[in-house]
């Protein structure tokens, strides 16, 4: 059994940033395990630009953004393994992994950072009726075929769901000569970034059909047609509103789900809202010494925030390794109130917060000119008006530790209020 100070599971943007940060904080003995044939994760297939505006103050493509971290990782001499699949992790931080190069290996770590990313929701999860022909792809799978393998997946395309990957693929497929007939969204608002709606749909005259959904798929072998219907306020199709699309391809961009099968195996407690681990301000899960960051924790809108969060995980993992003490301190719980879908971190130990606590959250609806109100055990401590908030864009709220560090504090609640 080989022992490391830190093992990072996943070599995407989260794992890379976490590993680099931990090394900078003095952890010598780090191993990054990546299941794909190269580092960088999903960024490698995101060949469009728009990455890095916050972290690097410039606009990079996905592979360029990844390359900065990969270069740094290599310069720092951090060990990594490609084509290596972690089979299981236990709560004593023992990892089983396999690869063609090394076979079946058992590894041990003082700390583990979970950075496995997420997967896409599928047609099956939506129970869309109809046939089950070829030509139905999740947007990310289609993106991989186009950008990594060099193959086109269809010529006439309809997109269900207005998540960012779907929007990006609307433009990508169009640029490759396909006809994208529309983007259909069940909700009355898009799940993607506004800039993607503008740059990927509007600029190419691709209609965004809000409050519509796919109700039937035709074609025995390959997709031959897709039926779309308008939905009412309960998201039920309204009869008589059928629109028939003559397409050979249906792309799905209907949500991402953190991939936490390994975390569960390690006994990590999950949050039903995020479907990721419950973590504290140090990105530490319910299992001491196991940390989580990036899309395995909660689905982010921008990779820049993944980097921020992962650096934090790397930093605290380093601290854990060096101090190897478990801090006995009662945590304050963060509670998503009215209009808030979830908050990360879910637990806070004030002694571990450096002056300002940063909370990540998603709102449930489109809000214009509404106020984010922070309450500590019911008492309002902060209220900030926001111009525009949407579920597709992550909100960040900074709360000075002085506002909640007191004896017996139990809850920090956040609500969206119309004031």
């Amino acid at each position: 059994m080989k022992a490391y100070d830190l093992i990072v599971v996943g070599g995407g943007p989260a794992g890379l940033a976490a590993a680099v940060e931990a090394r900078k904080d003095g952890v010598e003995d780090i191993l990054v395990l990546e299941r794909d044939r190269e580092l960088g994760g999903i960024l490698q297939q995101c060949i469009h630009n728009g990455f890095g505006l916050h972290v690097f103050k410039e606009e990079l493509t996905g592979p360029e953004y990844a390359e900065r971290f990969i270069d740094e990782l290599k310069e720092l001499g951090i060990e990594y393994r490609l084509d290596t699949m972690v089979l299981d992790i236990n709560d004593e931080r023992i990892i089983h992994a396999i690869s063609k190069a090394e076979g079946f290996v058992t590894l041990e770590a003082k700390a583990i950072i979970l950075a496995m990313g997420c997967r896409e929701r599928t047609r099956g999860a939506l129970a869309i009726p109809g046939y089950r022909p070829a030509g139905i792809f999740t947007a990310g799978t289609a993106q991989r075929y186009l950008n990594m393998e060099g193959y086109m997946v269809g010529k006439k395309v309809l997109i269900l769901g207005s998540g960012d990957i779907g929007l990006i693929m609307a433009r990508r497929m169009t640029l490759e000569g396909a006809k994208v007939l529309g983007c259909v969204e069940l909700m009355p608002f898009s799940g993607g970034l506004t800039r993607n709606i503008v740059q990927c749909l509007n600029d190419y005259d691709i209609p965004l059909m809000l409050s519509h959904t796919v109700t039937d798929i035709q074609g025995k072998d390959r997709v031959q047609g897709v039926t779309v219907m308008k939905v009412d306020e309960n998201r039920q199709p309204i009869s008589g509103t059928e629109i028939q699309f003559d397409v050979d391809t249906l792309l799905l961009s209907v949500g991402l789900i953190p991939e936490n099968e390994l975390s569960k195996g390690a006994g990590v407690q999950l949050d039903m809202r995020t479907r990721g681990a419950i973590v504290n301000e140090s990105m530490e899960t319910s299992v001491p010494g196991i940390f989580a960051c990036g899309n395995v924790l909660h689905v982010h809108d921008l990779v820049d925030w993944v980097t921020d969060e992962s650096r934090r995980a790397g930093k605290f993992a380093a601290k854990f390794i060096k101090e190897s003490e478990i801090i006995e301190e009662t945590s304050i719980e963060t509670v998503p109130g009215q209009g808030i879908g979830y908050i990360v971190p879910q637990r806070v130990r004030p002694s571990q917060v450096n002056q300002v606590l940063e909370l990540f959250m998603r709102v449930r609806d489109i809000y214009v000119g509404q106020t984010i109100v922070v309450r500590v055990d019911g008492k309002e401590v902060q209220a900030k008006r926001r111009g525009h908030m949407a579920p597709g864009e992550m909100e960040r709220v900074k709360v000075p530790v002085s506002l909640f560090d007191g004896p017996g504090v139990k809850k920090i609640t956040i609500d969206v209020e119309d004031r």
């Binding site: 299941r35 084509d83 699949m85 089979l87 089983h96 396999i98 690869s99 063609k100 076979g103 079946f104 058992t106 997967r119 896409e120 599928t122 047609r123 099956g124 999860a125 129970a127 009726p129 109809g130 046939y131 089950r132 022909p133 070829a134 030509g135 999740t138 990310g140 799978t141 991989r144 075929y145 186009l146 990594m148 393998e149 060099g150 193959y151 086109m152 997946v153 269809g154 010529k155 490759e176 000569g177 109700t215 039937d216 798929i217 035709q218 025995k220 072998d221 390959r222 199709p237 050979d248 099968e261």
Partner: protein
Amino acid sequence: MYDVAIIGAGVIGTGIARELMRYQLKVIMLEKENDVADGTTKANSAIVHAGYDAPFGSNKARFNVEGNAMFDQVCKDLDVHFKQIGSLVLAFDEEDRPTLEELLENGKRLGVPGLEIIEADRIREIEPNVSHTAVAALWAPTAGIVGPWELAISYAENAMDNGAELRLNTEVTAIEKKENKFVLTTSTGDVEAKLVVNASGLHADDIYNMVAESEFTINPRRGEYFLLDNEVSDLVNTVVFQCPTKMGKGVLVSPTVDGNIIVGPNAEDVETKDEINTTAEGLAFVREKAKLTIEELPFHMTITNFSGLRAEPSTGDFIVEESKQVLGFVNVAGIKSPGLSSAPAIAVYVAETICVGILGADAKKNPAFNPKTRKKLRFEGLSDEKKEDLIRVEPSFARIICRCETITEGEIVDAIHRNAGARTINGVKRRCRPGAGRCQGGFCGPRVVEILARELKISPMEVELEGKDSHILVGETKGGAGE
């Protein structure tokens, strides 16, 4: 010339082929689709019924009870997943108790072992999650679950291991009866055989009509299903049926051999024999009906829906006989539920009693017959030591392709190169499960395309999802696929 040409390579046709190979016979399976097990065999409840409900004296009753008793051995020989987990028929009303008693009596008369009626407390012991409205149940310990396409694929493989031939994408378009043989016109050339076994499922009447005026018709009756994530695999432990009532037959909730939960089916007569689509109404019906068994069924854990068509015979019973009009033409038709449960018994009966009976002295025992398929290696589930050993011998088992189900490259390559091997993405999925998990092939799809193309020496653009025209990729991007 073949001794026997079998039309249709579903679980019935492949089973018959395998049992015929116990004799020194030349046997060919003709399948119009791109793979074996591609019709009703791939889309059903995957249940091995105990066999208490068919009327005494019927083919269904006989073959089901006989077939059930054969499953253990057949699945051992063929390395097919089979679990004898037992079944419950739940009564939700005291009014339904007489129905349970009738089933019990009928089952006893048919020789179904171990049947008993149990009360609410025992139901709760066996199935803690079922609705508290269940007042009594018929317990049938011999019922089980099986991988239906797995069984057919392994039957085909074992038949081929023992010398049978398989021709895919071969549609029979005409059959001519000559003096001592049949001439079958097919989309891949003529086939001559002494005997024809019509195991063409939904199309058995159409095929029979090529040589005679069929005395029966086969009507497609659709059933729709939900398949739930293996995360909720402990929802039920046994096959849970609902007691048939005036309101209909009800739906079942059952584990599958792969650890998922299957819920369904409804029953709807459809117009054509290819309407394998699901419908909003059908799925809503199943959803609603299933709530009777388990109030809080986690439908949000659905990983896929599918539908299958039952081959509903106009006669109401299985048709398993040599045609009286056309000697040498054997109909094995109308094999709806409990068809899968009956398959091993039907296979033996058709092969030994009917075919060998007709061929007489021409059919000599095959001393070289090997009833066993080569073991399928499954990485997942091996002990750590066994995993290490396997990888040392065969490194391709160290490359995980499907992360949801932990399927290795080695397993996929083996599934492609076996007899009756995989040719398509869904063919690979049915043989070793990549893409059958919660991501439904999102991650492993491109990898499986790559492996199929490499192993079959074809372009990735020629890789099909399922049928002949179900290509996945339509061309290269402007940048091209390159290396």
